[in-house]
Every structure is written in C-alpha cells, then in structure tokens.
Amino acid sequence: MRSFDGTALQVRFKCGVTGVNKKDVIREFSGGVRAMAPLIVAVMPIGLVFGAVAASKGLSSLEVMLMSAFVFAGGSQFVAMDIWSHPVSWGALGFSALLVNIRHVLMSASIGTKMPAFSGSAKYAAMLLLADEIWAMAETRAAQARLSAAWYAGLAVPFYVVWVLTSLAGAVAGAFLGDPKAIGLDFAFPAVFVVLLMGFWKGRETGAVLAASAAAAVMTQQLLPGVWYIGAGAAAGVIATLVLDRRREVCA
C-alpha cells in the first residue's frame, strides 16, 4: 500500500528530481509510448472521421485542427458537431463541453493522488492532456508501478499529435472516407475500455461497483440525452463503495 503522507511525498519528490538521469527519462518515455501504441493506432480512424464530419459542417481545415489542438476531448468535439449552428453560439458549445467533460473532474481527482513523482507544474500540464484513453492507461500504470512524468508524457504526447494531425487529414480528405462502422472499427475504443476494466477487478467488492455503475448508466442513458450516463454511472459506483464501507463499519 502506498503512503500518501505529506512528508513522504516531499522526500520522494526531492529524490525524484535529483535521482533522475537522462537514460531513465528516455526509458520511461518509450515505455509509455509502447503501452499507448495500440490506442494510438485506434484513434487514427476516429480522428479522420471527426475531421471529415467537421468539414461537412462548414469548418475550415485550420479551424478543425485548432479545435482538436485546443480542446483535445473527442467526445465533446463530436457532440459539438451535433449541435453546430450558423452562426455558432459559443455559450452553447462551451456549456455542452462542460457537461460532456464533467467526468474529468473525477478522473483528475483519482489520478492526481497517484502523481507524487510529478512536480507541481508538471501535474497541471498533465491534467490539460487528460483524455479518457490517456487517463485509463495512466491509472493502469499507477496500479502496477510508480507513475513518472516521463511515462505519462510517453502516453500523452504522441496520442495528442496523432489526434491533431488525423483530424486535419480527415478535414482535408473529407467525403472520400468510408464508414468506419462497416469494418467494426467503431468498436475499437469500447474494446480498449473493456480490456482496461478487466485489469481493475479486485474481487466481489469490484463486482458491486460495476453492477451499480452499469445499472445507473444504462437507466440514465435511456432517460436523458447526452452523456449524463457516464457521470451517473461513476457516481453510483462510488456510492456503492461507500455503502459497503458503512455496512462493514456497522458489522465491526
């Protein structure tokens, strides 16, 4: 069990800064890149499709690239294309991005406690790149070893570059692209999340979390539009843990 005591963090932080040599940084970075490689491949068709959809809504190639570079959150970018209007309403788009990405609050709180090896500013920089896929791979790494800033950069930087460049390519190529659903490629990301989820299994208590989350997510998705279901499922899973905790305390 890792310690989150403040002084321990301080010591580890200082050792991290003085004890890091260039070779370690390179090895950690390339470890992150290797772990991320399947997702980098899987994001390519998604970026192309996003670019093509955005171009069909009247965005210029440069605007498409700027959106991918500044926002860097695929889900909210696709939702923005759904509600895109002429003239554009920045208020509606900003608000919808806030709602779609509200799950990132939980994700950043969770991974934030696993970054004792990061300097203060590195932590904030890392959070700006906290896309779902990068977060999930960082959590997976943190469950097995100490998550370093270089490993995180290896996960995030190539993924970011590929997302921006494939959106641009999609916008330029536009309608020449086929439908990724025809060959099952739309299933690549759900499949990645299934595999990562299996890695978080820790026995019956996890089962309760998953059952609560799945039930709440499916019910919410049937009743409400948009991506409220992700927040609802996450909240239900956390509440299930707290209920189990309470019961254990009562029994003890």
């Binding site: 989150f4 965005l59 210029s60 190639s61 440069l62 605007e63 700027l66 500044f70 926002v71 554009v88 309403s89 920045w90 788009l93 900003g94 991005a97 806030l98 509200i102 990132h104 609050v105 939980l106 994700m107 950043s108 709180a109 969770s110 934030g112 406690t113 932590k123 904030y124 959070m127 700006l128 999930a136 299933f187 690549a188 759900p190 499949a191 990645v192 999340f193 299934v194 595999v195 990562l196 989820l197 299996m198 890695g199 978080f200 996890t206 979390v209 998953l210 989350s213 799945a214 997510a217 499916v218 998705q221 049937q222 279901y229 992700i230 927040g231 499922g233 996450a234 899973g237 707290l242």
Partner: protein
C-alpha cells in the same frame, strides 16, 4: 484555410470548459484530506467510470455488441491489449454481418 472569429471564440469556450473539468479534480484533492474512506471512494472511480462508458454498448446497443464485449473480456484474461481489442473488432464485424445489424 481561414479562421472565423466566432468559430475561434467557440473553440476557446470549449477549450476553457474542458481545461476547467480537468484541473478541478486536482484542486479538489488539494483541499480535501484523503483518509482511508476517501481513498476507497477514489479507488472506485476508475472501474466505475470505465463501466459507465461501456455499459450502453455492452448491454443495450444490440446482440452483436454484447457478444463482442463478452468476447473481448474473455480474450483480455489471456491475451495482451492489442490482441484482445482485435478480437473484439473482428467479433463485432462478423456478428453484425451475420445478424444483419
């Protein structure tokens, strides 16, 4: 290759909203002391979020997707990430073709 000022403003609004959600979790844990109970709640977040993301695909999209999620989960117990994902993509492609969804 032009940028409309209104479009640029919309992009900035989306970027600011997204950055806010990604930073605020970090700010939250700075001001909340993390005891054993908070720790367990935080530990439940990764599986709970991942399950919520895939639940509609796994349970209510169609038989092809449900079958492919099961196949992927089973493959994940034996195969590395990429092979398990490839299994899921192939199964969903074949199942959709067979079922006609």
């Amino acid at each position: 290759m032009t940028v409309d000022p209104n479009v640029f403003l919309a992009i900035l609004a989306m970027a600011a909203a997204t950055a806010l959600t990604r930073i605020s979790g970090l700010l939250l844990i700075r001001f909340v002391t993390i005891g054993p109970q908070q720790r367990r709640a935080l530990d439940a977040i990764p599986p709970a979020v991942l399950m919520a993301v895939i639940a509609p695909t796994a349970l209510v999209t169609g038989p092809a997707e449900t079958l492919a999620v099961l196949a992927t989960a089973l493959a994940a117990t034996r195969l590395p990430l990429l092979a398990a994902v490839a299994t899921g993509v192939v199964v969903v492609g074949v199942a959709r073709a067979v079922i006609g969804a």
